[in-house]
């Protein structure tokens, strides 16, 4: 058995400016810290749907130096894509709080039209790898462990040529290797009509790009990791039946707490999927009976991003889905036994979200009070809305919902003001503690704009603890591990996940806010292979690395 290794990071490195509301402020420091990549995603007029869906990014520690680096996926333009496209990746190494563009050194120079990213150590060699979805073949990059990556797509057999949106790694069969789910969007080819071409290409009286409705959806794909560097397409065998819905957000999560990861997929303009893991290598789709396919009125929404957390403290992971404007985002409250209710209105998340078109989302405890809050990156798809005078804008503010407890949230973004209310057409959002100060920061990819890195100022006024898990018998990234802490009689639960949000990937360290608690009494980990172990007590305000026991 390896020893429990604790890395203490006491004291915040940055200034703390508590917000008047008591909620932390978010300050966009991307430019200041060197993250300056201009997003390319079509032209300004958005003649085709591919120009509006944007890109994602990731927080991942590619060099194993205990701080998270930033990876950004980029798109292209219709004309340039025909000639091979633009560079799809930018990797920024975190050098003590400043970011240095190491794309070239990392051998990540690849052209095309990138979309999103998910990461995990697929070959269990101790270095995090990542998968990039694209318009055109997706790409798997293997981390060589020396600061460089290799394109291993062909060898791995995961170069799906369809238009990929979100992806997520998860070990659905618990064989110790992470598998891969890719949500595919639609067929984008020369037959897709141009903006305003027919009646389906109109929005509130204006000519807009066509789709997704009226265009042919593409089915999702599930790859099984063979453990030898290759994957097999097991979509049909595993019962992942997708009737060509427009797939967007996806995440693996163990919703019924049986130790086997399930899969949730947010579909655009179609019912969402919940694939229940049958523990035999197959899934059954239970979106409808679980209450997670539609909203409470029985309507399919335009699912974009997905966030998962136990917001009500009942020990089960709830689901938050971002949707189109003039519709609410949806909070599905998990009652256990694979049954959810739409708690959006009751939680106070209904009317306030109507003007916003949501994409990336995270449920994280930004103020470290022990309750997961919600952050939503917004931005309209139609530049034309600005001229319509219909209560919607193209550039939109963020929504930040503080968890008040008792199942209620309140939007605090407007009160916070500052950078989060600056209008952007935002898409992907990734969540993590880039400055290791104990609170959760947010990376947001903005359409045709530079990215934002929202530094959380004030979250660490409360105590916190974060865990990095490393599997041995389980997959090395510990994707799927469930971690439960108890502090002062209060339990919190989280899970190691890959992918999620919208086209993005979060810091895989698991963070808990502790309020005024200075230590946790115990931590219980259920590793992806089902083994459990317990530790504690552990002092607060530190990062803790736990290796899976080799038994």
């Amino acid at each position: 058995m390896k020893a429990l290794f604790i890395v203490a990071v006491m004291g915040a490195a940055v200034s703390v400016f508590p917000a008047a509301s008591g909620f932390p402020n978010f300050v966009d420091v991307a430019g200041q810290l060197g993250i300056t990549l201009m997003n390319i995603c079509g032209g300004a007029s958005k003649d085709y749907i591919v120009e509006a869906n944007g890109n994602g990014g990731a927080f991942l520690d590619y060099d194993n130096d205990s701080d998270i680096d930033v990876l950004i996926v980029n798109g292209s333009t219709i004309d340039r894509y025909k000639r091979g496209g633009d560079p799809i990746l930018a990797l920024y190494r975190n050098d003590g709080g400043r970011f240095v563009d190491v794309t070239k050194q990392a051998r990540l120079l690849k052209n095309g039209w990138g979309m999103g990213v998910c990461a995990a150590d697929y070959d269990n060699d101790g270095n995090i790898d990542f998968y990039v979805t694209a318009l055109g073949p997706n790409v798997l990059f293997r981390n060589n462990g020396d600061g460089t990556f290799s394109d291993v797509t062909a060898k791995a057999g995961v170069g799906d040529a369809r238009w990929g949106a979100n992806c997520a790694f998860g070990d659905y069969d618990r064989d110790g290797y992470v598998d891969l789910y890719v949500a595919n969007y639609l067929t984008f080819d020369e037959k897709v009509p141009r903006r305003g071409a027919n009646e389906l290409c109109r929005y509130m009286g204006a000519d807009v790009f066509c789709g997704p409705v009226g265009l042919k959806g593409e089915p999702d794909v599930l790859y099984h990791n063979n453990g030898n560097g290759s994957f097999s397409d097991v979509t049909a065998k595993a019962g992942v039946r997708d009737p060509n819905y427009y797939g967007f957000g996806v995440t693996f999560s163990d919703f019924d707490n049986d130790g086997w990861p399930d899969i949730y997929v947010a579909n655009d303009s179609q019912p969402n999927f919940l694939f229940h893991n049958k523990r035999n290598g197959a899934f059954s789709e239970i979106g409808l009976v679980s209450g997670t396919a539609l909203n409470e009125a029985g309507r399919a929404q335009s699912g974009m991003g997905v966030a998962v957390a136990d917001y009500d403290g009942n020990g089960y992971f709830d689901i938050f889905v971002t949707n189109f404007a003039r519709d609410t985002n949806t909070l599905y409250r998990n009652l256990g036994n694979m049954f959810f209710i739409d708690a959006t209105l009751a939680a106070g998340l209904g009317e306030v979200s109507l003007p916003h078109l949501g994409w990336g989302a995270g449920m994280a405890d930004f103020d470290n009070d022990g309750l997961p809050d919600i952050f939503v990156a917004n931005g309209h798809v139609y530049p034309e809305v600005d001229g319509l005078n219909v209560g919607q804008r193209y550039l939109q503010r963020k929504e930040i919902y503080r968890n008040l407890g008792g199942g209620k949230f309140e939007d605090v973004a407007r009160d916070l003001g500052g950078d989060v209310v600056t209008g952007k057409s935002s898409r992907g959002a990734a969540f993590g503690d880039y400055d290791n100060d104990g609170d959760i920061d947010v990376l947001v990819i903005n359409l045709n704009d530079r990215p934002s890195l929202y530094r959380n100022d004030g979250g660490a006024r409360n105590h916190w603890i974060a865990f990095r898990l490393e599997g041995s018998r389980s997959n090395r990234s510990a994707v799927g591990a469930r971690i439960e802490i108890e502090a002062g009689g209060r339990k919190q639960v989280s899970e190691v996940r890959s992918g999620g949000s919208y086209l993005s990937h979060d810091d895989m360290r698991i963070h808990f806010g502790l309020g005024d608690r200075t230590r946790i009494d115990r931590v219980r980990i259920r590793w992806p292979n089902g083994n459990t172990e317990e530790r504690g007590p552990i002092e607060a305000d530190r990062f803790v690395t736990i290796w899976e026991e080799e038994r």
């Binding site: 929005y203 509130m204 009286g205 409470e296 209105l345 009751a346 209904g350 009317e351 219909v390």
Partner: protein, 403 residues
């Protein structure tokens, strides 16, 4: 007298007869504001907004009051999706005095405010509509739904119950009331309302879904799964129906009529009373030279949509091919009542008039066809497009349910 007969015909669903009379009236008396206004309303319903605008302008020139003019203009602008313009038109109509259309104008303003994300203004507008016309079930339904969306189930129940008292078959009201009771935790009333909704309309998928979810939440697993199973079955059929019909139209446009017919048969097996599919099947059969069977499908498709001139045109063609010239004449004249700007209709009318020994009319029709075809930018209409525009999942569910 003729005007009231025309309006009566329209209200009875005898659209062609009503429109024919209205057209005769405006022909004899171009200053008949009421006839032009009614034509504008019908053409608006048909989706022919260009023609509707023309009649509305004629009505205005014929001294239609500003109130009615602007209310109808608001309707047209709303159908086009131009919400701020529609709202402005309704407001001008109200300022000018919209008479008995006042409540409808306020209701429309309420709907627009909801769509424009101004719920407080919507609330005021609906309340105005109800103050003017307390028996406006639609306004009460809209207000009830707005309360629901604002998490105010108490007030939602009040409005929705009243709406259903006024119109027990009001589409969507039972589902909304079920949601409101569920929010209040009154499970029994919620279940009763949703079941009533399904009794009144077995194709009410919203009620079925909400009922299924509610039963599951209450632990009534078997009943809940049964409802959701039925919901799922219907949705699955809708999906398959849509796909089969889309594929059929694609094949038909490519001239692959055999495959198109197979796909349409598949569609109609899934949704036996689906008007759009019957209409397209009629055209495909006609294209394959099977006029007798085409007639059968086209006649049935008229039940679903009696306002489609394309159907009458195809019916006329089918009758013509089997030598029933009198019937062909009646049908092409009906098509021309609904749309006298389609060159194909006039060309075919020319053939029919020739066969029925009306050479002058035949020549006039052929001249008119040639004139229309010579207009700059003229393009032969796509025969499949007319019903494609009208397709909706709700219509398919009703067709699947045999309603």
């Amino acid at each position: 007298m003729r005007l009231s007969t025309a309006v009566s015909d329209l209200n009875k669903g005898k659209f062609v007869e009503g429109m024919r009379l209205l057209k005769e009236i405006v022909h004899d008396d171009p200053a008949s504001a009421a006839a032009h206004l009614n034509l504008a309303i019908v053409y608006s319903r048909m989706g022919r907004r260009d023609v509707a605008y023309r009649h509305l302008e004629h009505a205005r020139q014929a001294k239609l009051g500003d109130g009615l003019y602007f209310v109808q203009l608001g309707m047209l602008r709303r159908h086009e999706g131009c919400r701020p313009e529609a709202r402005a038109a309704f407001r001008r109509g109200l300022e000018a005095g919209a008479g008995r259309e006042e409540a409808a104008a306020w209701r429309n303003i309420g709907d627009i405010e909801v769509e424009m994300l101004a719920p407080e203004k919507a609330l005021d507008a609906y309340e105005n509509a109800i103050r003017i016309e307390p028996n406006d079930a639609q306004a009460r339904l809209a207000l009830g739904r707005l309360h629901l969306d604002r998490n105010d189930a108490q007030n939602a129940v009040v409005q929705l119950r009243r709406a259903l008292e006024l119109d027990p078959a009001l589409a969507g009201a039972h589902a909304a009331l079920g949601r409101a009771y569920r929010m209040l935790g009154d499970w029994d009333s919620a279940i009763a309302s949703l079941k009533k909704g399904l009794d009144a309309d077995p194709s009410d998928q919203d009620s079925r879904y909400i009922l299924g979810q509610l039963l599951l939440a209450l632990g009534r697993e078997e009943e809940g799964r049964r409802e959701l199973g039925e919901y799922s079955r219907l949705q699955d059929r809708v999906l398959k129906t849509n796909r089969a019909l889309e594929a059929a139209v694609e094949r038909a446009r490519a001239g692959q009529y055999d495959r198109a017919e197979e796909l349409l048969k598949e569609t109609l097996e899934l949704a036996p009373r689906y008007g759009a599919a019957m209409h397209i099947m009629g055209i495909v059969l006609l294209s394959r030279g099977d006029a007798p069977h085409a007639l059968n499908f086209l006649r049935q498709s008229l039940i679903a949509n009696p306002l489609n001139p394309e159907t009458y045109f195809n019916l006329s063609t089918a009758y013509f091919r089997i030598g029933k010239h009198a019937e062909a004449l009646e049908m092409i004249e009906r098509a021309l009542v609904l749309d006298d700007e389609d060159a194909r209709f006039h060309a075919h009318a020319g053939d029919v008039y020739s066969k029925t020994n009306q050479p002058d009319r035949a020549q006039a029709s052929l001249r008119r066809a040639a004139e229309l075809r010579s207009r700059p930018g003229y393009r032969e209409p796509d025969p499949y497009a007319s019903e494609e525009r009208r397709r909706s999942d709700a219509a398919i569910v009703r067709a699947v349910c045999g309603l």
